[in-house]
Amino acid sequence: MIFNPQIILEKLPEIGSGLLVTLILWLVGIAGGVAVGFLVATARRFGGRAINLGLGALVEVLRGTPFLIQVFLLYYGGPFVGLMLDPIPCGLIALTVYAAAYYSEIFRAGYAAVPPGHVEAAECLGLSRLQAIRRVQIPEMALIVLPPAVNLAVILLKESAVLSIITVPELTATVSAIGSQQYAFLEAIFVLAVIYWAIVEATGRLGRVAENRLSRLRTANA
């Protein structure tokens, strides 16, 4: 057996388009997940008992079942209840919802980690509730939630590979298809591993840089 990743790399434009789909799904999924997750965590904290329990149950279901099963339900089950989504929108929605469940837990922990005294103190100083949340609670939370949020981003990138199973033309689908076409199976898997690894490493570095900046900013302000 001759190992020659060149066979795969010759199809650079196709790999590029797969990579692009993966990156878009991933980044939009993160952005959507962070936004929805933050709303969910905020609603659970300030929205009363019923909302907290309802959303909590939903979050547990999403965190307690495999992403693949959720994707199958949405993609193959959807049309039976009149929800017909094309592969990319379906993948995007599934990834965002899954991300939101996990991000909401990170933000919930973040809320819990900021001593209530800080917000109360801000309110005593004459800030409104909203101002206290925006100026005190969120900046303090940012430093706490950043490391797990970056970790989760990495997990989401890897989960996005699962979307190849519902015909989303992302990186895994594209590269493995090239591998089958060229009978270069091992090379395809190898190329995939390297690309994902590179993105994950870069993300980790970026996360650490952001963490350092944020903590320096905080100490400078204090």
Binding site: P79, S164, T167, S180, Y183, L186
Partner: protein, 276 residues
């Protein structure tokens, strides 16, 4: 059944080191199969009527064929089910001795593998939703979304055909043809391109849901089983090939065709120069 499968696997895991050593004693693939009393066959279980899961049970022409082969050979058949795009890599990696599939006999595959005498026709045609007036002939799929299995010869033929049309087909590659049929029913694709015996079976199983569009758009091709091309597998491939021809002659294959396709058909004894 599954529990047994799992236990068996656990036991084979325990025996793994031992068998790996003793395997070197025999001279070639066939001798090793005979010595072990087990032939491992790789397949995909989403390719009705050749290979599928029927209410939890593994069924289809493949199962019947290899059961007969195992009887003739005096060995047990052990199935390894993978997604289709993992089956040929699995064969090359030595995960199993043979591939059931079956797989379309193509030029590209003959360059890399040995393929047995054909067991059925594999010519590719279109399956559409029943009553879909917009597709009455194959070229009507131009510019539309069509589903097909990943890493299949049907995919390659659809791509070739698409290039000849006025507007290219939007090809969607599914992990299995079953998923493509599900999306045809849902309406995400307007057609599925697969071999005639497969889509005829699906249309017949789900009357009123799907219809086959004639004529076939693909070149005339045949299905066969796949073995490795190396010297080590030579006697094994020859044997499976002889068995296939034997089953054709003594009418066993004809009976299987009748059972699974509702009809018998003639296939050549060998395909040396495939049309695709």
């Amino acid at each position: 059944m599954l529990k047994r499968h799992f236990l068996k696997a656990a036991v084979s895991l325990a025996l793994f080191a031992g068998t790996a050593l003793s395997a070197h004693a025999a001279d070639d693939a066939l001798a090793r199969i005979k010595a072990a009393g087990v032939m491992k066959v790789g397949t995909e279980t989403a390719f009705a009527p050749f290979d599928f899961i029927d209410g939890g049970d593994h069924a289809g022409l493949n199962v019947d064929f290899f059961a007969e082969l195992g009887k003739d050979l005096g060995v047990k058949i052990e199935w390894v089910a993978l997604p289709w795009d993992g089956v040929l890599p699995g064969l090359e990696a030595g995960k199993f001795d043979f591939v059931a599939g079956p797989a379309t006999i193509t030029k590209a595959r003959l360059e890399r593998y040995k393929m047995t005498s054909p067991i059925a026709e594999a010519t590719v045609a279109i399956l559409k939703k029943a009553g879909d007036k917009t597709i009455t002939k194959p070229e009507d799929i131009a510019g539309k979304a069509v589903g097909v299995g990943k890493a299949t010869a049907q995919l390659a033929q659809l791509q070739e055909y698409s290039a000849t049309l006025s507007k290219k087909v939007e090809v969607r590659e599914y992990v299995s043809f079953n998923d493509a049929y599900a999306d045809l029913a849902a309406g995400r694709v307007v057609a599925v391109a697969n071999s005639l015996p497969n889509i005829a079976f699906v249309a017949q199983q789900r009357k009123g849901a799907f219809e086959v569009v004639t004529p076939a758009f693909g070149k005339k091709t045949y299905f066969g089983f796949i073995g490795k091309k190396d010297e080590d597998s030579k006697t094994l491939v020859d044997l499976v090939n002889e068995e296939t021809i034997k089953m054709k002659k003594d009418g066993r294959l004809g009976k299987m065709q009748e059972k699974w396709f509702g009809t018998k058909f003639d296939t050549p004894d060998a395909v040396t120069d495939p049309a695709f």
